[in-house]
């Protein structure tokens, strides 16, 4: 039995009439990246806030390295660090000032606070911007200073709440690299995200959350296998043939086929059993069947399972509908 960084049972948080977190059980092994995947409003941030001692649970319990997040909040605070979804540094202050401030609050003496801040700014490529106010930073730089502020004292457990939402692809890759380096040094990372892709790249285990409940949990491989290997998107030459195409695809693939908003497009699920080759095979069988039925295909594409598809498969409703919840 490996050590658990986080263990929760029946964790509940209620806001008014909404059960934002509704009985969450988690067991997060130490020393790896744990992904919490879900759409906006699924309860990811609320769950993280409870684990980071920012919110008091309304029910159930949670421990961080064996310490209760309510009764031993101070001990938990000395083990964890949180990079929130919204800038958790002071925009009016410069990069250096922000880092030195947090370092001092963590108990570093002045010279140590300055040294550690300077070293982190350098490692994060922010030395040139060190004396500029954070409000003048680009999105990627701001994320980096945010993460730097979280590791001024190397935490045992680091919460990253949607660290790449709103970042361009390059900045997103930089954040991914940083996360890998941090984990390699022995820190456990809990990462929330809306992107299956991101959880897939970084996390060794993933919990999928919807409506405050864990609806699936496992390794990325297990999760994708349960969803299917992906999907095939087909564009027809003639919209009149779509009914026929739908019928052919469902009988060949035995899976859900749905028409898209575009009258000539449709998407079919592939049940690839966790094997890309099988997915490709299915796709070619599907295309052959369409050709045999006389349906003219203009083009097609194979898609990796997206969060939307994970949600469709797990909950029978697309993730995006829940954005307001």
């Amino acid at each position: 039995m490996t050590e658990l960084a986080i263990e929760t049972s029946g964790l509940v948080k209620i806001f008014g009439k909404t059960r934002a977190v509704d009985g969450v059980d988690l067991a997060v092994p130490a020393g790896s990246v744990y992904g919490v995947l879900g759409p906006n409003g699924a309860g990811k941030t609320t769950a993280v806030k409870m684990l980071a001692t920012l919110l008091r649970p309304d029910g159930g319990q949670a421990t961080v390295f064996g310490h209760d997040v309510v009764r031993e909040a101070d001990t938990v605070r000395s083990l964890v660090s949180l990079t929130g979804q919204y800038a958790s540094v002071d925009e009016d202050l410069s990069g250096t000032e922000n880092l030195v401030l947090i370092a001092r609050l963590l108990g570093h003496r002045k010279p140590a606070a300055r040294d550690r801040s300077a070293a982190l700014l350098e490692a994060f490529g922010l030395t040139d911007a060190a004396d500029r106010q954070v409000k003048n930073y680009s999105g990627g730089m701001r994320r980096r200073i945010d993460i730097a502020a979280s590791i001024l004292r190397t935490p045992e457990l680091l919460f990253l709440d949607e660290p790449t939402t709103g970042l361009d692809p390059r900045s997103r890759n930089q954040v991914w690299d940083i996360v890998r380096i941090i984990v390699a040094q022995g820190t456990t990372v809990m990462l929330t995200t809306q992107y299956l892709d991101e959880a897939d790249h970084l996390a060794s285990r993933i919990a999928v959350i919807d409506h405050g409940r864990v609806i699936a949990e496992g390794t990325p491989g297990e999760l994708k296998a349960s969803v299917g290997a992906g999907s095939i998107q087909v564009r027809l030459r003639d919209a009149a043939q779509r009914e026929e195409a739908l019928r052919v695809l469902s009988s060949v693939l035995g899976e859900a086929v749905r028409p898209e908003a575009d009258p000539v497009a449709l998407t079919a699920q592939l049940s690839g059993e966790d094997s890309d080759r099988e997915a490709a095979e299915q796709a070619s069988r599907a295309l052959a069947a369409l050709a045999a039925a006389g349906v003219v295909v203009d083009n097609f594409a194979l898609g990796q399972p997206t969060l939307d598809e994970v949600f469709l498969a797990l909950t029978d409703h697309p993730a995006t509908e829940e954005a307001a919840a």
Binding site: D74, L82, G84, A87, L105, G125, I181
Partner: protein, 286 residues
């Protein structure tokens, strides 16, 4: 073409950043756990944060410089002739009161500051730090104390220019300011509470105005309460601002009133006990 080739390397060098694995790793490898800072040192660090914000956004000092000057000039010349016959004479009575009014009114920015700060998410980080919990707010108030002192000094200087000649001398004036700033520190906890309680800075400002206007005007700042109807006098008698003004006036005039000073100190203690507790309860729950 030649310009493009010369500028390109510099732009890519500044935008393309690759995390330095070895350097970052080296920093993280030091898993040193520094000792938890004392309550006092954490509060001072938060106070330093407020001072840094003043350094970066000096416009925020406008309300502790321009506003008090305006207050002194307005009320001295508006009421001076009518109430005391002469401006200089009225100033001896008015200045300590106007100083109290201005500084007490400035305290409401504390609540707005807390409200804006909390909206921004920085406080989420502060609240996950293992430091003495009230430090963030106490530190913010330390910064505000600097603003209160600035406002008091500005008013004093304007007053001296206009002809304010306190009999209490340097010591009396100094003690008066210390008492005023001390009480304002305590009074600010009311606003930190509202700053945490209310949803927007506008509502904080609205509530502040509703409390501050009656408190400052229905007092002995501008006129002696003897001229007021009985029911109003009852209010001015229990109004802490009345006692604060009386105490500060006494100190500056060289005739300190022990009873009033004790009243003010006790009131300050009660305010901190009540509103400090409420503030911290809200802060922990937020």
């Amino acid at each position: 073409m030649s310009t493009a080739t010369t500028t390109e390397p510099t732009t890519t060098a500044s935008t393309a950043y690759a995390p330095a694995a070895d350097r970052l790793g080296a920093v993280l490898a030091s898993r040193e756990q520094p000792p938890r800072p004392s309550a006092w040192s954490a509060s001072l660090t938060f106070g330093w944060r407020t001072m840094l914000k003043i350094k970066h956004v000096p416009e925020q000092m406008f309300d502790v410089t321009a506003f008090p000057i305006m207050m002194v000039l307005m009320f001295t010349y508006l009421f001076g002739g009518a109430l005391a016959g002469s401006v200089t004479e009225y100033l001896q009575f008015l200045l300590p009161g106007i100083m109290v009014t201005s500084v007490i009114m400035i305290t409401m920015y504390t609540g707005m500051g807390v409200n804006i700060d909390i909206e921004k998410g920085v406080f989420d980080r502060f609240r996950t730090l293992p430091v003495w919990r009230p430090a963030a707010l106490v530190g913010a108030l330390f910064g505000d104390v600097f603003r209160y002192v600035t406002a008091a000094v500005v008013i004093l200087v304007v007053g001296l220019i206009l002809g304010f000649r306190p009999d209490g001398g340097v010591l009396g004036v100094l003690l008066g300011i210390v008492l005023l700033v001390g009480f304002s520190f305590a009074f600010s906890w009311i606003w930190t509470m509202f700053g945490l309680l209310l949803r927007s800075e506008k509502s904080v400002m609205g509530v502040s105005m509703m409390v501050l206007f009656p408190l400052t005007f229905l007092s002995n700042v501008f006129v002696e309460p003897e001229t007021m109807p009985a029911w109003l006098r009852v209010f001015t008698e229990v109004n802490p601002i009345t006692h604060l003004v009386a105490a500060v006036r006494g100190l500056m005039a060289g005739s300190p009133d022990g009873g009033e000073i004790v009243w003010v100190l006790v009131a300050a203690g009660v305010i901190i006990a009540v509103f400090g507790t409420l503030t911290m309860r809200l802060y922990n729950r937020k």
